[in-house]
């Protein structure tokens, strides 16, 4: 028993930690999908850009400044991406918006490649979060412990915001029925901007936690976690925030179990296999609402 725990605890802890980080990204996906019915393909790249903001800002200023500044900048980026690339297509077919999202992702990746020269940039060590601690027999970074706690706190706050504030009510109304909400006098653009601001802020926090675990950031580092977070959002039932969080934890943990078994090549593939199984047997995910499409 002792041996079993010693061997597997690091993977389990890693899984919980990664799951929390996926959850923070997944919330952004699920909120945007809930309101715009759009898979925001650029979300994973916004997550990566946050990593680079941190790298460059931390080179010139103390952590106490660069950390909040990173999150502010990433909010600004998420906001402007929505204004520039999605707002003009509000009345266009859904596929056009999705293609625009893919275009933004392409642009952000090329931009990051240009700025960094395609090289991996060393991620700064953030005091306290990056320090090591020992839990039972496994030595890990503080971030492993911080992530799940912070994730749950943030998501709880978000759920409160959505259920008990005016803007939250507007968000729920818009995601229920876009057109009717507009007729009821809800300023759609403000609601959508708020969604993108919240999503980007969470992705920024997720990015800081995620990259603290690694030594370097590359322009494509965020593509895979971004996709997996999306899978988590679908798994939990797209549009449902608790669903996205639970889905993210399940995916993070099972991915690390696959690694523990020694099938690292298949850890990404497993995530997608899970997605496909879910889509086939329960297309609306664990907590999603069934929607009947009208003819």
């Amino acid at each position: 028993m002792q041996e079993f725990i010693t061997a597997n605890l690091p993977y389990l802890l890693g899984g919980i930690s990664v799951g929390g980080q996926y959850a923070l990204i997944a919330v952004g996906y699920t909120m945007v999908y809930g309101i715009l019915r759009l898979i925001n393909f650029a979300h994973g790249d916004i997550f990566t850009v946050a990593g680079f903001f941190m790298v460059y800002l931390n080179a010139t200023m103390p952590v106490a400044v660069s950390l909040p500044l990173t999150i502010l900048l990433i909010i600004a980026l998420g906001f402007s991406v929505e204004r520039v690339a999605y707002k003009p297509l509000r009345n266009a077919p859904r596929m056009s918006v999705m293609i625009s999202a893919i275009g933004v992702s392409y642009l952000l990746q090329n931009l990051m490649w240009y700025v960094t020269g395609g090289l991996a940039k060393q991620y700064p060590t953030i005091p306290w979060i990056s320090s090591s601690i020992t839990i039972y027999t496994a030595t890990t970074k503080m971030v492993t412990l911080v992530t799940p706690i912070l994730t749950i706190v943030l998501v709880a706050l978000l759920v409160q915001l959505i259920n008990h504030t005016k803007i939250g009510m507007a968000m729920r109304a818009v995601s229920k029925d876009f057109e009717t909400a507009r007729l009821m006098g809800i300023k759609i653009d403000r609601v959508i901007s708020a969604t993108f601001i919240i999503g980007s802020a969470l992705a920024g926090i997720g990015s800081i936690l995620y990259f603290s675990n690694y030594t370097a950031v590359t322009p494509t580092a965020g593509a895979m976690p971004g996709l997996k977070a999306f899978v988590a959002a679908v798994f939990g039932g797209i549009g449902s925030i608790p669903g996205a969080v639970i889905g993210a934890f399940i995916i993070g943990i099972s991915e690390n179990i696959i690694k523990a078994v020694g099938l690292t090549t298949f850890s990404d593939a497993f995530t997608f296999a899970l997605l496909i199984v879910v889509l086939i047997f329960k297309p609306t995910g664990l907590f999603g609402e069934a929607v009947n499409e009208k003819v």
């Binding site: 898979i39 077919p93 293609i99 275009g103 240009y114 996709l227 593939a269 997605l275 889509l279």
Partner: protein, 476 residues
């Protein structure tokens, strides 16, 4: 008029045959020509000259035209004063040098003549149209060939033509699914990977397998397939996997379908990199030394045949059913179209051509590695389809050549640090090209949503009907 066409057609064909025969005979009889140039046979007295001449003949026997011409120039330059280079001999030399161009002009004249005769014999409007298209296609191929002969196979222009042709097939195959059937699939890279690997695995010469599969004791496959068969097999294997994947996935709608196919592409990539399959796929190591092509004509002909087949399919009853499904699934079903069957068919056929395209891409790249077939490759092709116009074959073709030319060639200068006088142009350095490029793509996506062609096709009727008929936008 009819008599004029008859005589014109026959005359053209006669001229064409004469041109072809003369250029082919000039090509084959280089040895005789060199003997005639050297009437006094000084070659036998001059060992250096003999060596130079033998070099010309040797490269000619190897069928390496670039090298032959180089050696011939050197031979004439060094020993020209000893040879008879005037009169008919000079003409014969020119005929040898310009052989490919003369023969391609011959082919073109032949096509025009045949088209003329065809229109006189049948007189139907459809035949006339087909003849015109045929001449146009032959003209295009002749142009490609002439450009290649003049610019050389490794020039930037020819590189762009080769890659552009392959991307044209990939874009058209994706358009068949996304633009014509309305199934938004993002699995293209996965099926290209299957095609590329199938092709590469079966065409590596047996004697090279030991080196390529060095970690897997030469691998399991110990034979080599002919190129054409391997390309078709590449398509068939991709189509087979598409059938299997389509069974569950095609029940999903729009963005769920997109994400599920994207997921499958990732799974395929992981499977091909799996160490346990190493004896077949070479694990995560690259495959190389398989048969490739030199001339741009090969991809052009292969892609041309595939796109022609796709056009025929689109214009058939099946193609009309696909479009009906795209425009309104419920209405299509009510009209008696079997949805699962048609969707599966579109998916399988599109993936067949994606596999063929993958095989051609492997030939173009000369090496294949699974890690290169990422989702970003699918996105690139999707952007080409959008730029060209969803639901337009000719749009996809034009857009792929523009896309490849812009990204590989025209915007190259943006990547080079440039100094004009003492002024260093800002921003220009490695990577800037792709930034400018993606900004252009975004501008098109945002402000020019229909792309270059919308859902129209480039055709002869376009010029006649221009302005008379304005089609409304289609909602996807």
């Amino acid at each position: 008029m009819k008599a004029l066409k008859w005589t014109g057609g026959i005359l053209l064909i006669i001229i064409a045959v004469a041109l072809l025969v003369s250029s082919i005979s000039a090509q084959s009889d280089l040895e005789g020509l060199l003997k005639r140039l050297d009437a006094q046979n000084v070659v036998d007295l001059n060992p250096k000259m003999l060596a130079d001449r033998d070099r010309v003949l040797e490269s000619h026997l190897d069928n390496d035209r670039d090298r032959t011409l180089r050696n011939l120039d050197r031979y004439l330059e060094r020993h020209g004063d000893l040879l008879l280079l005037e009169g008919t001999h000079a003409l014969e030399l020119t005929a040898f040098r310009s052989g490919p161009i003369v023969s391609s002009v011959g082919v073109l004249l032949m096509a025009i003549g045949a088209a003329l005769l065809a229109t006189v014999i049948s007189g139907k409007a459809a035949v006339r149209k087909a003849a015109l298209y045929a001449v146009g296609i032959v003209l295009l191929y002749v142009c490609v060939y002439v450009v290649e002969q003049i610019a050389g196979t490794s020039s930037m222009l020819v590189t762009v033509l080769k890659k552009g042709a392959i991307y044209a097939l990939l874009a058209v195959s994706m358009n068949l699914l996304n633009g014509f059937t309305g199934l938004f699939s993002l699995g293209q890279a996965g099926f290209m990977l299957i095609g590329a690997y199938t092709y590469a695995m079966f065409t590596i010469p047996v004697e090279s397998r030991g080196q390529v599969y060095q970690y897997y004791a030469g691998g399991l496959i110990q034979f080599q397939m002919p190129v054409i068969l391997a390309i078709i097999l590449a398509g068939l294997v991709a189509a087979f996997f598409a059938y299997l994947i389509g069974l569950p996935v095609l029940r999903l709608k729009s963005d769920y379908l997109a994400i599920a196919t994207l997921g499958f592409a990732e799974i395929i990539r992981a499977v091909f990199q799996y160490d346990g399959l190493g004896p077949i796929t070479n694990g995560s190591n690259l495959l190389r030394r398989f048969t490739t092509f030199n001339s741009a004509l090969f991809p052009f002909i292969a892609v041309g045949i595939c796109i022609l087949l796709i056009i025929l399919l689109i214009n058939s009853t099946y193609g009309r059913a696909f479009k009906a499904i795209r425009d309104d699934e419920v209405a299509a079903e009510a009209m008696g179209i079997n949805l699962p069957q048609h969707k599966s068919m579109a998916f399988v056929i599109s993936c067949f051509f994606a596999g063929v395209g993958g095989a051609l891409l492997a030939m173009y790249q000369t090496t294949v590695q699974a890690s290169a077939f990422k989702a970003s490759m699918t996105y690139e092709i999707l952007l080409i389809v959008v730029l060209g116009g969803m639901g337009s074959v000719s749009g996809s073709v034009i857009a792929s050549f523009l896309f490849i030319a812009a990204s590989e060639w025209w915007l190259r200068f943006l990547d080079a640090e440039t100094v004009i006088g003492t002024f260093e142009v800002p921003l220009l350095r490695s990577g800037f090209r792709m930034v400018v490029f993606s900004v252009i793509v975004m501008l098109v996506v945002l402000f020019y949503q229909k792309g270059i062609m919308g859902d129209r096709e480039l055709s002869l009727d376009m010029f006649k009907r221009n302005g008379k008929e304005k089609r409304g936008g289609r909602n996807a």
